[in-house]
Symmetry: C2
Subunit: 211 residues, 2 copies
């Protein structure tokens, strides 16, 4: 009995309750191609002072899918019915899939959202006209949204690069997943539909961070 | 000098020249959706005794891409300009991407080529009419073609499951890659365009087997 208590005490002495996450898993969100518009783009594409219509809320607080879709056009081809996400942003950003770069005939730029310098442009077509952007087309770098306090709990920092693993028939690993630890974040790992399809990831999947 | 020679002899005694592959890398081939037709399907879709037109040879000996394309139709949608690969086979087989299952409105079946039991069907549309298959639509399981003597050199056997790793900005790993060691094979690892795009794989990439 003494031995048992000694072992238990030795273990407890090395454990800090704050070091033990209640749940280490992170839900995965799968993004298809989509568009974030500036107000200037909304005005040109839909008419002056048009307000986008919320269809449903997304996992990131304040973000929502809109009823409205647009056609995107590159020098080689077009893609119809690309969903707009709200609310409006300072700069228009179009997130496409790697395969879309071939359909559209534009180069792919693998970037985090908002990092738009030296990215390609394209033309958006809406019910009220077209709107050409000189830059703003990206393929989203896979990333994990979390609050700063969640980053602390997971033992990671904003900007850190981690890997994630998937089980199953098409299982495998994705490296170079960027931690995005910011206030007002919903805990979620974002990959695109090509990444999800390649690894057999379905909605409802959760992952753990591998450092 | 004696020490040096002794070490060298000790090393050489454990080396068998046949155990050292000249090159351990395997080229990667990236497959888009495509169709293999039976002669009955060719007759119906293009007219009796029509001969498919070779466009270019593929890496697997005797296999070639054809000039002809078809439209494939499911209950929810169609995909146009799907390339036919020759020569004709005993049974029609349509290899699609996971994302195509949503466009077409059919379930995906992850299979090796030729394993068509309990797979979905669809309708093919050609210049001479349509041809419905009750089964034969698969998403190809990633695999590595090689000769039996190459399998021996790599230390793997037909049917063995291995993993492959990719470097780069979108690097990662794919598990459950099937070794297909058969006579008359060209050494090549086959993944589809979604797998290639998710891992940032471009034509000319080579991989090594990880057991």
């Amino acid at each position: 009995m003494e031995d048992y208590e000694a072992i238990l005490n030795a273990i407890m002495a090395h454990l800090n309750p704050n070091d033990i996450p209640k749940d280490e898993t992170i839900p995965v969100g799968i993004s298809n191609r989509h568009i974030h518009l500036s107000q200037a783009a909304v005005d040109k594409l839909f008419g002056s002072d048009y307000q986008l219509t919320k269809l449903k809320d997304l996992s990131q607080p304040g973000q929502y899918a809109c009823k409205e879709c647009l056609t995107i056009c590159g020098p080689r081809g077009v893609i119809e019915k690309v969903r707009i996400l709200g609310p409006v942003r300072g700069e228009t950003q179009v997130e496409i899939l790697q395969s879309d770069t071939f359909k559209l005939g534009i180069k792919g730029a693998l970037r985090l959202s908002g990092d738009l310098r030296n990215t390609p442009g394209l033309t958006l077509i809406g019910p009220n006209g077209s709107y050409e952007i000189q830059q703003g087309v990206i393929i989203a770098k896979r990333h994990i949204h979390m609050l700063p306090e969640e980053a602390e709990r997971f033992g990671v920092t904003d900007g850190q690069i981690v890997s994630i693993d998937f089980e199953g028939e098409r299982g495998g690993s994705l490296n170079n997943v960027v931690i995005r630890a910011t206030a007002n974040s919903g805990l979620e790992c974002h990959i695109d539909t090509e990444e999800a399809n390649a690894l057999g990831v379905v909605p409802g999947t959760s992952i753990k961070i591998r450092k």
